[in-house]
């Protein structure tokens, strides 16, 4: 495991109006996604309204923190601060269990182990000042 807090990586703006609910969730140790009370749809990535329907009063709901690996890349060359010192590393796109949502996160294990369909579980890297990043770890057993 890599402690991302020890690296000076780009930090998200957790006050971004459309994403704040997600960051409140990661701080609480869960994945949250906005859902429309009108259409029942999950809106991911987060947007101000239900897609194609004027419903701006979205509710943030918890979704499974487990899923399967849909696709990935292993980054060998990057200009991103902090990350340039830890190449190669994996970035995983995970299809969450039970909901039609894919989330991208840092793959917190040896990138040589990345395999299509592998079971992954969300982890939350505490960067301080209320920022908790989504990282994907191999599911137990």
């Amino acid at each position: 495991m890599i402690d991302l807090a020890t690296l000076d990586i780009p930090r998200p703006d957790i006050t971004d109006r459309d994403l704040a609910g997600f960051w409140e969730g990661t701080a609480a140790g869960e994945l949250r996604v906005p859902r429309s009370r009108v259409t029942g749809e999950y809106i991911w990535p987060p947007r101000p309204s239900a897609v194609g329907v004027p419903d701006f009063d979205l509710e943030w709901v918890g979704v499974p923190s487990t899923g399967t690996l849909f696709t990935w890349t292993v980054v060998h060359q990057t200009g991103l601060q902090g990350y340039s010192g830890i190449t190669p590393y994996g970035v995983a796109v995970v299809q969450l269990d039970d909901v039609p949502v894919r989330m991208v996160g840092f793959a917190d294990f040896d990138p040589a182990e990345l395999k299509a369909g592998m079971a992954l579980t969300a982890g939350f890297a505490d960067l301080g000042d209320g920022v908790h990043l989504l990282v994907w770890r191999k599911s137990e057993g």
Partner: protein
């Protein structure tokens, strides 16, 4: 009855290099003067300008060419899909009588000046998603985004490393026939391809396009206003743009491989009254090797999932069933946002491509790809 078809009357380009030693304004003017001469026009005949979003502006060319009455300017915001989409806008302008001769141009010091990372922050859509959900977890470049497509295609359809390599090597073999290509005289073997340094797996260095200093310009006018062209007129028979579902976010597309091109291609072919099987050569926006395979599929040249075998069997090489990028493409000729693909299509349709000429070329398809999969397609004919 007058012929109001939109045509490409002139083309111009500079040398392509890693270090031009000139300003981008100079590069733009060099390409512009070359295109004007090629079309048999005078600078004052140009009354419409379509620059790229980043680089020299319309005002730069108005001043530099001494244009006294430019009446139409427009900028397409589709990244590398912009030059082909601009052909459509230029055609509309000349056919509507708003302008007589519209110049589309791109000039950049893409290697020695502002490189791709700097340009990206100025043009990619969905900035809050990039900065909020992607960059903090280590994802930030086109090579990395599009590697996600390539990896998923390998998972679903069994596309292989060697099939990606076949694209890289075919483009390089074409560049060996083009003295104006940056990689002229530098052959590439499969071993050299496989052993090139990894960038964003599955992409290796030789899966990635070049970064280039240079410029190109093309002039669009109407057939009935071009009675004294020095060269054969190239008709813009069909041209369209399209945008992928969920256009500002690759990761959550339900149909993961759908592109702007998926939607643009049927429109462009219908407008031209032609089918993919009618195309003699294709200029495919080859920012990375897999994107050639993906666009061959999404434009309808082959069924989805069959692109890997298609390129591996030699179909995209000169002499194959669908020669792709005889000039060497973005991978081995140079990268001027794909407007160099339009220039090459015109050269080929004029029959002026020398050693790399596609025999009896009468129909060319030119794709554009930009940002997170915006797409465009032009069908050019003689």
């Amino acid at each position: 009855m007058s012929d109001t078809a939109a045509i490409i009357a002139g083309i111009g380009q500079t040398d392509f290099s890693k270090a031009s030693g000139r300003s981008v304004q100079q590069l733009a003017l060099e390409a512009a003067f070359a295109a004007i001469e090629d079309a048999g026009l005078k600078p004052s005949d140009i009354d419409g300008l379509m620059p790229y979003k980043i680089g020299p502006t319309s005002e730069d060319l108005i001043a530099g060419l001494g244009l006294e009455d430019v009446r139409f300017t427009n900028v397409s915001h589709m990244g590398g899909a912009s030059p082909v989409a601009s052909l459509r806008t230029a055609a509309l302008a000349v056919q509507a009588g708003i302008a007589n001769a519209v110049m589309v141009f791109v000039a950049r010091n893409g290697r020695s000046g502002a490189r791709v990372a700097a340009r990206l922050s100025a043009q990619v859509p969905g900035t809050s998603l990039r900065e909020g959900l992607e960059q903090p977890v280590g994802l930030s470049t086109p090579a990395q985004w599009y590697a996600l497509f390539a990896r998923r295609h390998m998972i679903e359809y069994g596309t292989t490393r060697e099939q990606l390599g076949a694209v890289a090597i075919t483009m390089r073999n074409h560049a060996l026939l083009n003295p104006e290509a940056m990689m002229y005289g530098r052959p590439l073997t499969m071993d050299e391809y496989r052993n090139s340094k990894p960038i964003a797996d599955p992409y290796l260095m030789f899966d990635c396009c070049l970064e280039t200093d240079g410029a190109c310009a093309v002039i669009v006018t109407r057939a009935d206003r071009a009675d004294s062209l020095p060269h054969k007129a190239v008709r813009i028979a069909g041209v369209a743009e399209g945008h992928a579902d969920n256009a500002d976010d690759i990761v959550n597309r339900r149909d993961f491989f759908n592109l702007g091109l998926t939607k643009a291609a049927p429109r462009a072919f219908a407008q031209a009254g032609l089918a993919p099987s009618d195309v003699d050569l294709a200029l495919i926006y080859d920012c990375f090797t897999f994107e050639v395979i993906q666009q061959l599929e999404e434009a309808g040249f082959v069924a989805r999932g069959e692109g890997g075998a298609f390129v591996e069997e030699g179909n995209i090489a000169l002499g194959g069933s669908l020669p792709v990028n005889p000039h060497g493409g973005l991978l081995s000729q140079g990268h001027i946002a794909g407007i160099n693909h339009i220039v090459e299509a015109v050269v080929q349709l004029r029959g002026a491509a020398g050693d790399r000429q596609v025999a009896d070329a009468e129909v060319a398809a030119v794709t554009g790809w930009g940002d997170l999969g915006d797409g465009s397609l032009a069908i050019l004919t003689v």
